[in-house]
């Protein structure tokens, strides 16, 4: 058993001063569904665990000033059971339901998910396509980073050793829109994504498209967005946009899937995701949460 100390501050100020004092020797603990095993496997060897779960200031989930604000301590179960999230952030709602299983989602947080920053992190792409902003604080000040700039490498983010992520803001959409999140896993319940596709389309036919698990970091596909921009998707456009996707992604082959299979599925899932997002905007169907693959 590893020897570390454990503190559970009740205020953010207390957590920030611990963070300042201990820096890289400390690890922040939320649901622990990633961190626990990293410590068990000695990938991480903190001297101090700072448990943030009980900090009230991090537990908010509300709509304010044109955005939905998700506190760092909000769990996936809370997101899934929130009408606000279901109605205003349907793509985030859809993707949250695909994280692990109930017993994990009851502890696991969205902020923990993006801070852990594996290329397959479920919440990365749905946040990127909605232009979400990550709020980060340290004892010396606060900053806000767009989700697209948050990930710097596999398991790497812009968060520094004296900082804490406090919340995520997701701007509300104006007008009609449709979203979709398609996840390729081996089976339902526990598997992380082999490929993940997130799509947003608005009533002026602006598109946002992002892929997870097919490169060192979750990535947007601006080339495909540009091909489709301003147009209702037709077969030839879809083909063109698809080749933009395949030129941008760089999947590896691993124990879960070969490189070739991942590339093939990037194309298959692109069509399904575009189809579902457009159809949801125009007709409201298929319902969010319906199986898309």
């Amino acid at each position: 058993m590893l020897n570390f100390d454990y503190r559970r501050p009740e205020s953010l100020d207390e957590a920030l001063s611990l963070r300042k004092e201990w820096g890289g020797k400390s690890s922040l603990l939320m649901g622990g569904t990633d961190l626990f095993l990293a410590i068990e496997e000695e990938v991480r060897r903190p001297e101090l665990l700072i448990d943030l779960k009980k900090i009230r200031a991090l537990s908010g989930l509300e709509e304010k000033d044109g955005a939905v604000h998700i506190g760092a301590a909000v769990t996936y179960s809370e997101l899934i059971h929130s009408d606000l999230v279901h109605q205003k952030l349907p793509g985030i709602w859809e993707s949250s339901r695909l994280v692990a299983s109930v017993g994990i989602r009851n502890s696991a947080t969205m902020v923990g998910n993006i801070c852990n920053a594996v290329p397959s992190a479920e919440s990365a792409t749905p946040l990127m396509i909605r232009d979400a902003v990550i709020h980060i604080t340290s004892a010396s000040g606060s900053r806000s980073v767009p989700a697209v700039e948050f990930f710097t490498g596999p398991r790497r983010t812009v968060v520094k050793d004296d900082e804490i992520v406090t919340s995520i803001s997701v701007p509300l959409m104006k007008g009609k829109f449709g979203e979709s999140y398609v996840k390729l896993g081996r089976y339902r319940g526990e598997d992380i994504a082999q490929v993940a596709t997130a799509v947003l389309v608005d009533e002026n036919w602006n598109y946002r498209i992002a892929y997870g698990a097919v490169g060192p970091v979750p990535m947007g596909i601006p080339g495909a967005e540009a091909v489709l921009k301003g147009k209702k998707p037709a077969a030839d456009l879809i083909e063109k946009a698809k080749s933009e996707v395949l030129n941008t992604v760089s999947p590896i082959g691993d124990i879960r899937a070969s490189k070739e299979y991942r590339l093939h599925m990037c194309a298959v899932m692109f069509e399904k995701a575009i189809d579902a997002a457009v159809s949801r905007m125009e007709t409201g169907a298929p319902a969010y949460g319906a199986r898309l693959i």
Binding site: M1, N3, R8, T33, L37, D51, K53, I104, R188, G189
Partner: protein
């Protein structure tokens, strides 16, 4: 770095000394005599270690005991003590277990599902139990037990 933590376990107040690195599952099993929670995978994947913490099922293999300080924990032993044996009895009637290793986790997850959603359809039942693995039964009898449980409770309400 040993410290005293306190929580309510199956209705009883408990105090126990732990080091920060001790797992909740180990403390429950080795120090507090709770054997319904099992060590299956130790990685959060099988649900054998499921306990109810502050009203929600969690993986006790993925938590440090210190994290549970001040909380309310319920395990299958508590269901027994409080007479909440109904789900167990229906599971038994449907022959829903063979070795039984997975049973406490399934029963706690079923209890949580029915407390949130009294009328789940088959998809919702599967979704709620997707994090509990059973190597023996093939799940069919487990799902039929839950379905009968739903019908019984519905009948009682009308």
């Amino acid at each position: 770095m040993v410290r005293e933590i306190e929580f309510t376990l199956n209705g009883y107040h408990q105090k126990v000394s732990v080091k920060p690195g001790e797992k909740l599952l180990d403390v429950l099993r080795d120090k507090l005599g709770i054997t319904s929670a099992k060590y299956g995978c130790g990685k959060g994947e099988c649900g054998a270690c499921t306990v109810n913490l502050d009203g929600k099922t969690v993986r006790s293999c993925l938590m440090y005991a210190v994290e549970a300080d001040g909380s309310v924990i319920e395990t299958l032993e508590g269901f027994q003590r409080l007479g909440k044996k109904e789900i167990q009895e229906i599971y038994q009637k449907h022959n829903a277990f063979q070795c039984g290793f997975c049973a406490p986790g399934f029963i706690l997850s079923t209890d949580e599902l029915l407390s949130q959603n009294p009328d789940p359809d088959e998809e919702e039942i599967k979704e709620a139990l997707a994090g509990n693995l059973c190597r023996c039964t093939g799940y069919k009898n487990i799902f039929s037990a839950v379905k009968e449980m739903v019908e019984i409770r519905k009948g009682r309400e009308s």
